[in-house]
Structures are given as C-alpha cells and as structure tokens.
C-alpha cells in the first residue's frame, strides 16, 4: 500500500476511474485482486514483446503507459483473471517489473473512506450524522461534544477501563444532587451495532426533550439517567478493524488460544449454570469467574456504590423482544406480574410508531436459558425494573442492519423506554 501511495497522483486517479468505467462496461463486478504493474523493459526486444502482449485482447489489459522505449516505464492495469498469465509471460522473458498497486479494490475503498471521513467530521451534535454507523473515536467525540454543549445537564463519568485500557464512559444526565437513577446500556455485545447507534440517538433525544417534553422533564427532575453507549469498547473496535461478527470482550484466556468472554454470561447470577459455556472458544463463554471482565466489574461497582438505581435496561440486538428476569432459572421473578404488564405496555407504545412487532416475556421462556446475565444480577440487587431489549430485526439482516433503520429503531425503542421510565417514576419503591 505504501508503494501505491508514492506513485499515486491525480492523473493516475483519473486513469483509474476511467479504467474502472471501461472495465465495468465489460461486465466486471469488482476490482478485487486486480493489480497495476510497472514494467521496466531493458531493450528494444522486450519493448516489442510488450507491444505484442498489449495486443492480446482476451487478457483485458489496459496500458496506462504504453510500451514505447526502454528508457520509459510501462504501466499496465491487469485484471485478476489475467495476472497469472502476465506474470508467467514477464518471468519467462526475464522482463523486470514491480507491483504498483497491490489491489485496486482496496485503493478504491480507501479513497471512499477518506472522502466519507472528510465529508462528515461533525462540529456539533447537531451536525452529527445519526443515520450512519460510527467508529469508537467518533462516538467518544460525540459524547464530549454533547457534554460541552449541555454542561448544565450532562457530564461524563469514567467508571473503569476495558481490558485494552479504553475508558468506560457513562453519560450522566442530572438536574440535581442525590437523586435515584435509571440506567441504560448499549453495545455490551459489540457486533450489535444498532444498539450503540441507538444509544447515541437516545443521548441527543434526552438533551433535546428536557425542558420541552413534560414527561421526560418530570422524570429528569426526579431521577438521574445514566447511559453507557459503548459498554464493550474493545469488542467494538475489533468489529471495525478485524471481525464484524465479534461479540465478546477481548481479554485473552489463559491456557487457550481463544480470546474473549461473553459479558452477558459473566455476572454473578446463576453464574456457571446452563445456558453459558465453560469453553473459551465459544461465544457464550462465561469467563473464569463472575465479574472477571473489567467491563462488567466496572458496572457492578458503579451499581453497588450508587445504591439507588431504580431501573436498569440493557440493550441488545437482534430479534425484537423485551425481556425481564430470569434467564438462569425457571422460577418466576417475584414481580413477574408487574414486569409482564409493564412490558406489554412498553411494547404497545413501541409498536404504535412503525407497527414493529415485539415479543415479550421472561428470558428463559421467551428466548433461551442464559445464566450469568446482566439483568438477573441487577434484579437480584433489588433493581425491580430490570429489562433487556433485543432490537431490530428478526433475522433478515440480523446484526448487519442497514443504517437507514437506525433512527426508526431508536425512535420506537425510545417510546418503550419512556414507558418504563414513566412507570418507574409513578411507582417509587
């Protein structure tokens, strides 16, 4: 790639685009594996051979610099299917060359990414693009901007560090001291991208609606809201850089080549039971012990030291469900009837917006047995209104939900969250 950058000029860019169009017309669908070679002929005989090569139409070659004279380099665009033949030809005839562009598609992709990045560095949270997926740096910048723009309402708390030493940032929305609190987290499973994206939208929604929406204003005048948008930042960074399907944390496991613990099996509630795995190479690996993951421990410590959280909602995707405890046991939760009724109401609000159908019930009956889960622990700590969401969709796109569904998902989910918050406010305990 460095080689390519050195030779890359605007003329080449023009040629590249032209070639792209030319090649596209002839039915190619991708430029993956295509290369650009710089050939150095050492004598007239080699120039003659290269001219002959250029006449082999079936190879689909495009000479950016024609073979003219041995003192001038010959640049040729070689589609993937012809690479082997061309290389053999050059080697056989002892014609020197080097690879100028390793993979044309990569170059085009980089170009695209640069353009997009340049276009969309926001200067304020009003500038921020809520209809797109963002990387970790962008999200952390968003948080700082939101705090700076609303410093009377929002502050940022760092509750700990991830395994790879990234800050675990929580936004605190507060209008007074010593209040009971409501907690939301998104992105505990890093591949569930619509959740972090929705978390960003919720943050903006709260600052927008405070002082405008009477229900939210009343809630915030009595409760603090805590929002952890990227609950698993190491995993999230990994979904951008290496593996879009990464779910777990990124902590290595001793005695195993497999990395990561499922942060939603690592809590001290039925820890080690059915519905979690003891194998580090699995997606539901529970970890060596309860709260072994710093990402989990940070929340545990926060909840315990706060002592007055009254609602706790952990947000996942996909499958369109609203779930309440328990996941680790089929014994019904003490408050099951109330939790069930509230879930029903919340889902009705959600559905009222875009007619998105949700299922609701306890974790173990509705989705599967899962032990060591977040809301089982928070419920057992006495946080009665403990819920887990599974956002859109139901499997068509799954984790790869198109960005144009971020805002509709966030909007409808917000209605359900408001129903939960309102009920919490109206039923203090």
């Amino acid at each position: 790639m460095i080689l390519a950058r050195k030779f890359y000029s605007s003329k080449m860019k023009g040629l590249l685009v032209l070639t792209a169009l030319f090649v596209a017309v002839f039915g190619k669908k991708t430029f993956e594996g295509d290369q650009v070679l710089r050939i150095t002929a050492k004598n007239e005989a080699q120039i003659f051979l290269l001219k002959e090569l250029s006449e082999q139409e079936h190879l689909g070659l495009d000479f950016w610099r024609e073979p003219v004279h041995e003192s001038l380099p010959v640049d040729v665009y070689v589609p993937f299917h012809s690479l082997q033949a061309v290389r053999v030809f050059l080697r056989y005839n002892q014609i020197q060359y080097n690879v100028m562009i390793m993979d044309v598609q990569d170059l085009l992709d980089d170009e695209e990414r640069e353009m997009v990045k340049y276009r969309t560095i926001p200067r304020s949270t009003d500038d921020f693009v809520y209809t797109a997926y963002h990387d970790l740096n962008s999200i952390y910048s968003f948080m700082d901007m939101l705090v700076a723009e609303n410093s009377n309402l929002v502050s940022k708390i760092v509750i700990g560090q991830s395994y790879e030493n990234r800050p675990l940032n929580v936004l605190k929305f507060s209008t007074g001291a010593n209040r009971p609190g409501i907690w939301f987290d998104t992105g505990i499973h890093s591949r569930e991208w619509v959740t972090q994206a929705s978390g960003i939208w919720f943050a903006k929604k709260i600052v927008t609606d405070y002082g405008r929406d009477p229900v939210l204003t009343d809630i915030l005048n009595n409760y603090d809201i805590f929002l952890e948008i990227v609950t698993n930042p190491d995993g999230f960074a990994y979904t951008h850089s290496r593996d879009r399907m990464w779910r777990k944390t990124r902590k290595p496991n001793s005695g195993s080549s497999c990395v990561g613990v499922d942060p939603n099996r690592n809590w001290d509630a039925g820890f080690g039971g059915g519905g979690s795995s003891s194998n580090p190479c699995t997606e539901t690996y529970r970890g060596p012990s309860a709260h072994s993951e710093p990402e989990v421990k940070a929340i545990v410590d926060f909840v315990k030291s706060h002592g007055k959280l009254k609602a706790f909602v952990s947000i996942h995707s996909y499958s369109q469900m609203l779930l309440y405890p328990y996941g680790y046991t089929s014994t019904p939760a003490k408050d099951k009837a109330e939790l069930h009724e509230l879930a029903k109401k919340a889902i009705a609000s959600l559905q009222s917006l875009y007619n998105t159908r949700y299922t609701y019930g306890s974790i173990i009956t509705t989705i599967y047995q899962a032990s060591g889960g977040t809301i089982d622990w928070t419920y057992n700590q006495g946080i009665k209104y403990s819920y887990t969401f599974e956002l859109r969709d139901t499997g068509r796109y799954g984790f790869l939900l198109p960005a144009n569904q971020i805002v509709p998902t966030a909007e409808e989910t917000w209605l359900a969250l408001m129903a939960i918050m309102e009920h919490t406010r109206n039923n203090p305990y």
């Binding site: 993956e32 797109a132 879009r244 699995t282 299922t359 009956t365 499997g395 198109p402």
Partner: protein, 233 residues
C-alpha cells in the same frame, strides 16, 4: 427443557420449529426474487411420537422479503418432526401454505436475471453482501436471495430443537462456469445460531434456473479462525 401440549406461540420452542418450516418453504419456493420470512406464529403444539422424536404442529404466517414491506402475509400450517437419533438427522417437514400459487409471480424478473447472467462471459464475483453497514447494491440483491435460499438447505439439515438459524452474511459469491444451462454459484455464507450465538461458516455450490429452481450440489463446513467452532450438531 421439554414442552409438550399447547405452546406459547411467541416463545422459542414454537419459534424454532416455525423457523425450520420456513427453511423448508424457502428450499422449495425460494428464488432470486422470493425469500420468505416468518411474520408470526398463531398456534403451536408439540407431542412426543412413538418412534422417538418430537412433532410440532404449527399455524403461522409468512411474508415475502422480495416484495418489500408491501407484500401480503401468507398463512401456513406445518408439521415439523425432530427425530431422536444417536447422530443428528435432519428434521422432517410437511407444509401447506394457502394461496402459494396466487402470490404475484416473479417469472419475468427470474427470466431477465437468468438471461443476464447465463452468458458465458458472465463472471460475477463479490464479497461481503451486505457489508458491515448493512449496505447491498441493487444488483446484488437477487444473489443475496439465492444465497439465502441455498443456505436454507444447510440450515434445514442442521436444525434441531436446540438451534435457531439465520443467515448472517454472504461472505463471498463466485460465479462458476454454467453447466446444463444452470447458473452455477459458489457461496461462502455465515450462519448465525441463536441459542449458542455461534457464527458458522459454510461453503456451498448451488445451481439455479427458472425451471429447476435452486439445487445445492456441495456443502463444506469451514473453520473460522480463531474459534473454529463446529456447527452445534
């Protein structure tokens, strides 16, 4: 976790069985312009059967993802039998959907698509459909659907009462030389199993034509570094 008798239609035992019926439906009626998704389970029950196994009776509705959100819901009923054998064997499905023949035919789109790509020069090749951001070009959509239908053969075969499969992504599509007037496509697909949360990778070779529909000729499980977890069964 055994459930016998009437089942809560929105809960997982019924849903998993319905998903199996969906995979079966798609293997039979899926095409580049038609893939069915589960809309809702209306009624479900289960019972043990004499030969050893559990049979689910389902009443459910499906929609065609190919026709966007405007499509009508089709009502279906199915019997899904999960056998109890020492080694995993595929569930057996009997399925009836109302008005299957009456839904808008996709013959025109099927033919146009077939004509476009059956030519000997056609060398479609693509990766990451959709991409990380859920984007998929218009041109790739019929290929995604074909992959989804072909994947349904595998998902059906691999299903049990303890699995719930969806196709997470098409990792790659490579058109092969057409054979016997069939479009030949090699897919690498990533399947997502809900209960285990595992991502399972399969390479498969499928053929399609408007007349013969989708056939899967070869399948090969592929390890994914670094986990290399085998399919749940």
């Amino acid at each position: 976790m055994a459930s016998t008798g009437d089942l809560e239609p929105t809960h997982y035992p019924a849903r998993r069985a319905a998903q199996v019926a969906l995979h079966y439906l798609n293997t039979h009626h899926g095409s580049p312009f038609r893939v069915f998704g589960l809309q809702q389970v209306h009624k479900a029950s289960a019972e043990d059967v004499a030969a050893g196994g559990r049979k689910y009776k389902l009443d459910f509705s499906v929609t065609d993802w190919g026709s966007g959100s405007a499509g009508p819901a089709l009502r279906c009923s199915a019997d899904v039998l999960f056998p109890r054998t020492e080694r995993h064997s595929a569930p057996k499905v009997e399925l009836h959907c109302e008005a299957l023949q009456q839904i808008n035919s996709t013959a025109q789109e099927d033919d146009a698509f077939y004509q476009k790509y059956i030519s000997p020069d056609s060398t479609v090749s693509a990766r990451d459909i959709p991409d990380s951001f859920g984007n998929m070009s218009e041109e790739m959509q019929p290929f995604w659907r074909l992959a989804r239908v072909a994947a349904s053969f595998i998902m059906l075969r691999e299903s049990s009462e303890n699995t719930e499969f969806n196709m997470a992504k098409v990792a790659s599509i490579t058109q092969q030389e057409s054979s016997e007037e069939q479009l030949m496509l090699e897919f690498v697909v990533l399947l997502h199993d809900f209960p285990s949360q595992e991502i399972v990778q399969w390479k498969l070779l499928a053929s399609w034509s408007p007349d013969r529909g989708v056939r899967v000729l070869q399948t090969e499980w592929q390890p994914r570094c670094p986990h290399a977890t085998k399919p749940p069964n």
